[in-house]
């Protein structure tokens, strides 16, 4: 699978932090802050499917949005193909936009209900490649529609005439129309029926193989990660707690949260829900615990865990942010 040769980093994030000010009464003195990202470093190598998994509040969606430039980081940098892009002005960022695209979660909200499918697909080209003539744009749109298994005649119709799966095809077509190198997919199949999920995932795999795409694939569904991903980062409360190749992670999960996550997946063989599971303490992004953010829920937490924040360090072929692993207590 993944060669051990160090592949070039297409996308790099360094020290990403993101804080959101929570709405408060204007007279109150407290100003609560939501810490969505608390220091994320990662390299997405060219050609790989890099998965980011975690549960609600972990920051994975925020990460995707910052990489795409939809939100600005409070701290840190985003690099694309060697150039720093998060601090670029709109005009300087433009040449990169055709190279990085995004597929969103909700197929019912990601297409403008008042525009035809053709207009939605042509818009990226018209804006980013204004030198293309009308016939060229038409041809490109038709080509990408065929590539995603859509009928070019759909061009005249409006989004509401299509099912969720069809809309997601159209959304993927929109992401592919500028022939990008990199795609951020934020839960692209969660809102779809099971039998359609397979269709769309196959489509994304095909697109990847045919075009040499690099994916940043954000999901909560670990079985999809196991099938589709090359490397996976597990996030908890705004930090990456484990980063490993997919097979390695599933064979040998190291971080206590990763283990908890894998343990919680329902299995077709049954039997794992037999034992009682006490409700875990829920992560609170507003009042971050000092020290390791997983400590309140962790069976292996000690005093050091509660006081200091563990860094992401190599542990065998993986990287883990855990003192228990570091100290050999796991």
């Amino acid at each position: 699978m993944t060669a051990l040769v160090e592949k070039r980093g297409l996308v790099e994030v360094r020290g990403l932090e993101k804080r959101f000010a929570m709405p408060t009464h204007f007279l109150s003195r407290e100003k609560p802050v939501l810490h969505a990202l608390n220091g994320v470093d990662a390299v997405v190598r060219q050609g790989e499917a890099f998965c980011v998994v975690g549960e609600s509040g972990c920051g994975k969606t925020t990460l995707g949005r910052i990489v795409m430039g939809l939100t600005e980081p409070s701290n840190g940098e985003v690099h694309f193909d060697g150039t720093r892009i998060d601090n670029l002005s709109d005009s300087r960022r433009r040449p990169f936009r055709a190279r990085m695209q995004m597929v969103f979660q909700n197929p019912y909200a990601s297409l403008n209900p008042r525009r035809t499918v053709f207009d939605t697909l042509a818009e990226p080209l018209r804006h980013l490649s204004p030198q293309m003539r009308r016939a060229e744009v038409r041809d490109a749109v038709e080509a990408v529609m065929l590539a995603v298994g859509a009928d070019p005649k759909w061009g005249r119709r409006m989004p509401h005439e299509f099912s969720g799966g069809q809309r997601q095809r159209i959304a993927i077509a929109r992401a592919l129309v500028t022939d990008p190198e990199f795609i951020v997919a934020d839960e692209p199949i969660s809102a779809l029926d099971v039998s359609i999920q397979a269709q769309i995932l196959n489509l994304m795999t095909k697109a990847r193989e045919e075009r040499g795409l690099t994916y940043l694939f954000i999901t909560h569904d670990l079985s999809v990660v196991q099938h589709f991903g090359d490397r996976v980062a597990v996030m908890y409360l705004g930090r990456i707690v484990e980063l490993a190749g997919v097979e390695e992670l599933f064979d040998r999960p190291r971080h206590p949260y990763t283990r908890l996550l894998l343990d919680a997946i329902p299995k077709l063989e049954g039997g794992s829900f037999e034992r009682e599971r006490k409700p875990g303490e829920l992560p609170n992004s507003i009042k971050l615990p000092p020290g390791c953010s997983f400590a309140p829920r962790c069976p292996l937490a000690n005093d050091r865990c509660r006081a200091e924040r563990p860094a992401l360090l190599p542990a065998g072929p993986a990287e883990v942010a855990c003192f228990a692993v570091e100290e050999g207590r796991d």
């Binding site: 949005r65 430039g69 709109d90 960022r93 909200a109 990601s110 403008n112 804006h127």
Partner: protein
């Protein structure tokens, strides 16, 4: 999302809506064809005769066939004055709503999309505007205007003044409605997709968000037209609206008011009935639009 076909089907299935629409359509036709259909042009001094003044409707004793609904104090046929006057009312109604919509939609779009202090500032402005009653504002503005410029200039510019004043006074209603829509649409992923491509905020507001805020705008437009007509009627009734030589329905009602006690009830009554019918029909149409276009009241037949 209601398709045009489903909308028409619902429309024809609703007798109230159809009835209201027919009335409004008939009124518009009447207004447009007034120069040809009206028995006389009541504002052409050559066509009226003071000897015809205060004649009752033709079916009452003393009435004249020429004047179906009777005449007013100057000898103008009431039917003719209504036909012309309704046109003035409608013109002011629509004109004011165009002004309101233009200002309100623009500001609502900016406030909703930009957020932050621009939003806060514009919304506070709207709050202040809303707390000043339109009628009061209009009275002050018009009174000052007519005092400053004299009755002649006033008579010429009254219609523009009215459109401007009612238009400017009511922009917050459109702004708030649009802003609420914008806030909802802003969260949707097609807006993110547009930003990912790198479209400028102005383009996104115009091309993507604006078309999706039109449904509630359509609904309140209808009701706002009715509001504007009533406001203008009230102003005219108070003497601050349209002048006597080019009256609206409100001015007609006013000019006939003093004659109620002397027995010429028709001069006020018929314009009042017309006004009521017009407002009622527009409001019923507005109700129908609101119920039909409300996505929460899905009926499962689309």
């Amino acid at each position: 999302m209601l398709s045009a076909r489903a909308f028409t089907r619902r429309f024809f299935g609703d007798p109230t809506a159809v009835g209201a629409f027919v009335i409004v359509a008939a009124v518009v036709v009447m207004v447009v064809s007034a120069p040809w259909l009206a028995p006389q042009n009541p504002y052409d001094p050559l066509q009226i005769d003071i000897m015809d003044s205060e004649m009752p409707p033709s079916w009452v004793a003393g009435g004249d066939e020429r004047f179906l609904l009777g005449t007013d104090a100057q000898g103008r046929g009431v039917l003719s004055t209504i036909m012309y006057g309704t046109g003035v009312s409608l013109l002011i109604g629509f004109g004011a709503v165009v002004v309101q919509a233009f200002i309100g939609i623009s500001l609502g779009l900016i406030a909703g999309y930009r957020g932050g202090w621009i939003d806060a500032f514009l919304m506070r402005l709207a709050d202040i505007q809303l707390s000043i009653s339109t009628l009061m504002l209009a009275i002050i503005a018009l009174a000052v205007f007519s005092a400053a410029f004299g009755p002649e200039a006033y008579a010429k510019l009254a219609i523009f003044m009215l459109i401007a004043v009612i238009g400017i006074a009511e922009w917050p209603r459109f702004a708030r409605t649009v802003r609420a829509s914008v806030l909802a649409e802003k969260k949707k992923e097609y807006v993110d997709a547009a930003r990912v491509i790198g479209l400028s905020p102005g383009t996104i507001m115009r091309r993507h968000i604006l078309p999706n805020t039109m449904t509630p705008v359509l609904v309140i437009s209808t009701i706002q037209v009715a509001e504007a007509i009533v406001t203008e009627a009230a102003l005219s009734f108070l003497g601050l609206g349209m002048p006597v030589n080019r009256p609206s329905l409100g001015a007609l009602i006013r000019s006939g008011f003093e004659f109620i006690f002397s027995g010429s009830w028709w001069i006020t009554l018929f314009p009042a009935v017309m006004l009521m019918l017009l407002i009622l029909s527009i409001n019923l149409l507005g109700d129908f639009m609101r119920d039909t276009l409300n996505p929460k009241l899905r009926r499962g037949d689309e």
